[in-house]
Amino acid sequence: MSQRINPELKKELLKFGAKDWNDCYHCGNCTATCQLTEREILFPRKAIRQAQMGLTESLASNADPWLCYYCGDCSDTCPRDANPGEIMMTLRRYLTSVYDWTGFSGMLYKSAKAHIVVMLVLFLSVVAAFLIFGGPMITELTSDGGVRLNTFAPAEIIAGIDHIVLLTLSFFLLTNMINMYYKVVLKDKTVHIPWYLYFTEIGEALLNFGTQLRFSKCNKSRMYWFGHWFLMIGYVTMFVLIIFFLSWFQTDNINVWYHPQRLIGYIITAGFLFGTIFFMIGRIRKKKQIFKHSHHSDWIFVVLLFLVAFSGILIHIFRINGLPFATYYTYVAHLAFEIPMVVTFVAFSKWSHLAYRPLAIYFSNMKKKTRELQLKSKLSVSY
């Protein structure tokens, strides 16, 4: 069956951030330089070709862009300055919108204006919610001199709201992941994956999720790998804390500094601050390939994360030092930053790579193993 060339694809892709990339004439230098390519998985060249040609279907079933961590070696050594690394980044944005059946993702990625408007609406909604439903602001301090935060914003209620947000976003993210599975695995008629591979290949995907070992293969970016990993660990820990242990974490008690509640909070915040400041400085200095081209989603994401972390630290300082109004206002700001970030990014934008990357490794490994098996059986027949 031949695939119809879709000339509109390139125009569409340009809206996701990359410049025109017809400079690429397929010398294959990028693939040769890349530390992560394998015999069966040849990126970035393959995906670039599909994008250039307008092969919408092939591109949708190609998980390769997720295997790239953007070390930038390919762009550094590209003889035509076609910037393959940035093309892969653009393709990740595009694929996020392909997996997202709501169309919300495409809207956020293609228009900075739309993204900012959505966030502003959410920001104001959070502020308005506190104005209407917020508890009393009490100047009277607790016995150990802290602010009574849980009277203003009771942890159980906030946790409840968190759960609703979580459930909603999980629904969208999960359905998008299923959509990805459908497009990458089921629609690819060239491989039929045997059932047992689903079990044998899951380990490596999970290992990579926790350690991002593959990323560390991009030898130029040890520091970047650490920043990225630290931020990810901080984020996941925070996620678990606010979903399952918010009543324990958001306490009015002032614990000793080595108490796990405070220690964990410090580690999370350190991860956030280190990661976001590292990225922001990088994006301003534009020295490394990965930071040379910033899409609006990159900036919004990193700035919001920083604001969330920074306001979190301020809440903590204000609370233990007995500054009630500062604590309350910062708390409102903290949530007003966090909700838009979570809502727009987790299922529909940049954060979703948290799910798509391990899935891509999972699917790619299964496909690779299946192809190896197919080849083996072919060889045994010919012998």
Binding site: S2, I5, N22, D23, Q50, Q52, M53
Partner: protein, 579 residues
């Protein structure tokens, strides 16, 4: 008859010859042969002391023949002939034995090699005894030039010669000057308008006092030889005019390949599949449109139509890639919202400014797709009005290995350049050889790409090979320079090695007339014998070996000379004596 005195010189060529051939032995073996007056060996015969040795010996020993056993005569025959002339001897009284390329370099057994060298030298000695003094002759050159073909190459050559004050006769088959270049819209890579380039050129040619144009006119026959050609033209009014000219420049150009031969492209059946030349005309008219007069949304360009394919033409037509890129640019400017697909086999956008043209085009949202001619050509089929787009082109894209189909409302076939259908006639008329793909063959593909094996006949432009406008013009001006050089000298030296007919023996069978590759022999009906035009004759010897009565004698390759040479080669006296 004077006594024959031969000087024999065996060269060591440093160690090149001496390593494998015992040069002392060779000299010892041949020095007692009859008529050998002097025999020596020396390290480098071609060096000044080596040549001086020959000159000294000629004077001292009154030598009248010289044999040098050394390298190939292609390298140093002329050197030694000049040495003979310096010593006052006719340069043809010389023979070379090649004991380097034919002996030392190709053998490993020193004994046998030396024996072979002795045989070759013996052969040369035997031959040189029969050599005759031959003297060079010169003929005068007619200063007028005939240019066949009024395209950009023919006009350039004509203008160059006419500007030097010499008469040019320009013969053009069609009614208009300008050739195919005049049919183009813009030219690559600078997008100059072809008409604006060609029109002033045509005007200059038409207004030039030294150029006489004959059009529409065809040349049917040319007689004569370099320096003195002549032809008779039939004018439209029934009159005849006789032209005399010294040189001929052939600029008969190309014809476009007919793509209806390639069935998968459906040219001729699908009205919106057009050739590059038809598209040029469309561009020149100022509107890109389908057969229904609509603006096409999807335009596809297919490269290598009839080129680089063993079924059609194996060669690359050299200009189509750049023309295709030019088209893409023109389509993009005319139809900014259109989709442009460029289906190529290899992108060969070489030459000054052309890689830049490719880069520039690739930034104009053109989708480049690569097909492989060996794995089947793209197939163009109609959608029969079932879709918004009128045609689909199906093929396997080579980089992705994906089977794809490209939507198209207009398909442009970049057709190959072919040698003109007239080429065969012209080759007979002007005495030019054609290669397998019907382009004219140049005298030497590297060292003399302008001249032909027929002296005084030059080939320029696309009749020689596919080329673009600047290359055609360069070649045309080079040919003009060559022509002007012969006119400036005014005379031409004629080679002495030619055939002669002994009219007493000639039986008039005319076999020689039919075999002569240079049309140098004609039949004299009055006398009933063949006559050799010694200016056209290249001394190839074909006639001499064909002549049943032995009436034709090839100078410097007489039967006597060749037979003596063979006798010397096979002489039982040739042996190697161990020291």
């Amino acid at each position: 008859m004077e006594e024959i005195k031969i000087g024999v010189y065996v060269c060591w060529c440093g160690t090149n010859i001496a390593k494998m051939v015992d040069v002392d032995q060779v000299v010892d073996q041949i020095k007692f042969l009859p008529d050998v007056a002097v025999a020596r060996n020396y390290k480098y015969m071609c060096s000044d002391p080596g040549q001086d040795m020959i000159i000294r010996d000629i004077k001292q020993h009154h030598l009248n023949r010289v044999v040098v056993a050394a390298c190939s005569p292609r390298i140093h025959e002329l050197t030694f002939r000049k040495a003979l002339a310096k010593a006052g001897l006719n340069p043809m009284m010389f023979q070379m034995a090649n004991i380097r390329e034919q002996v030392a370099w190709v053998h490993t057994d020193r004994e046998k090699a030396t024996k072979k060298a002795v045989s070759l030298v013996h052969a040369a000695i035997n031959r040189v005894k029969w050599h005759e003094s031959l003297d060079k002759r010169t003929i005068e050159v007619n200063p007028a030039t005939l240019v066949i073909g009024g395209g950009v190459a023919g006009m350039s050559a004509a203008l160059e010669i006419a500007n030097a004050g010499k008469q040019v006769y320009l013969v053009e088959k069609s009614k208009k000057l300008g050739g195919y270049a005049a049919q183009l819209d813009l030219t690559f890579p600078h997008f100059y308008s072809a008409r604006q380039l060609i029109k002033p050129m045509i005007r200059h040619v038409e207004d030039h006092k030294n150029i006489r144009i004959f059009k529409p006119m065809q040349i049917n026959q040319i007689f004569g030889y370099m320096g003195n050609f002549q032809s008779t033209l039939q004018l439209a009014n029934g009159d005849e005019t006789k032209l005399k000219f010294g040189n001929i420049i052939v600029a008969t150009g190309l014809q476009p390949f007919d793509p209806s031969e390639i069935t998968s492209y459906n040219y001729g059946k699908l009205p919106d599949v057009v050739t590059s030349l038809e598209f040029e005309k469309m561009l020149a008219k100022g509107r890109i449109e389908t057969c229904e007069g609509k603006e096409p949304k999807n335009v596809a360009i297919i490269h290598c139509v009839g080129s680089r394919n063993a079924n059609y033409h194996e060669y690359c037509s050299r200009t189509c890639c750049m023309t295709a890129l030019k088209f893409a640019n023109q389509i993009r400017s005319a139809l900014p919202e259109s989709n442009i697909f460029d289906l190529y086999a290899d992108m060969r956008s070489f030459g000054k400014g052309c890689e830049e043209l490719y880069t520039q085009t690739s930034r104009k949202n053109v989708i480049f797709l690569r097909f492989d001619q060996q794995n089947g050509l793209p197939e163009i089929r109609s959608t029969n009005g079932e879709e918004a787009v009128s045609m689909l082109i199906e093929f396997t894209e080579q980089f992705s290995k994906e089977q794809v189909e490209v939507p198209a409302d207009l398909v442009i076939l970049m057709v190959a350049m072919e040698s003109h259908a007239d080429a065969k006639d012209i080759s007979h008329i002007a005495g030019i050889s054609m290669c397998g793909n019907s382009f004219f063959i140049e005298k030497h593909p590297k060292l003399d790409p302008v001249a032909t094996t027929s002296d005084g006949v030059f080939i320029v432009g696309t009749c020689q090979a596919p080329k673009d406008i600047p290359d055609s013009i360069s070649q045309a001006k080079a040919a003009a320079a060559r022509v002007l050089a012969t006119i400036h000298v005014g005379t031409i030296e004629v080679d002495v090695i030619t055939a002669t007919v002994n009219e007493d023996i000639c039986c008039g069978c005319q076999t020689c007339v039919s075999v002569c590759p240079y049309k140098a022999i004609s039949f004299n009906k009055e006398k009933g014998v063949s006559e050799v035009n010694e200016i056209l004759c290249k001394g190839c010897g074909t006639c001499g070996s064909t002549c049943p009565t032995g009436a034709i004698r090839s100078r410097h390759f007489t039967d006597q000379q060749i037979l003596s040479q063979i006798q010397g080669l096979l002489s039982p006296d040739n042996k190697f004596e161990k020291m």
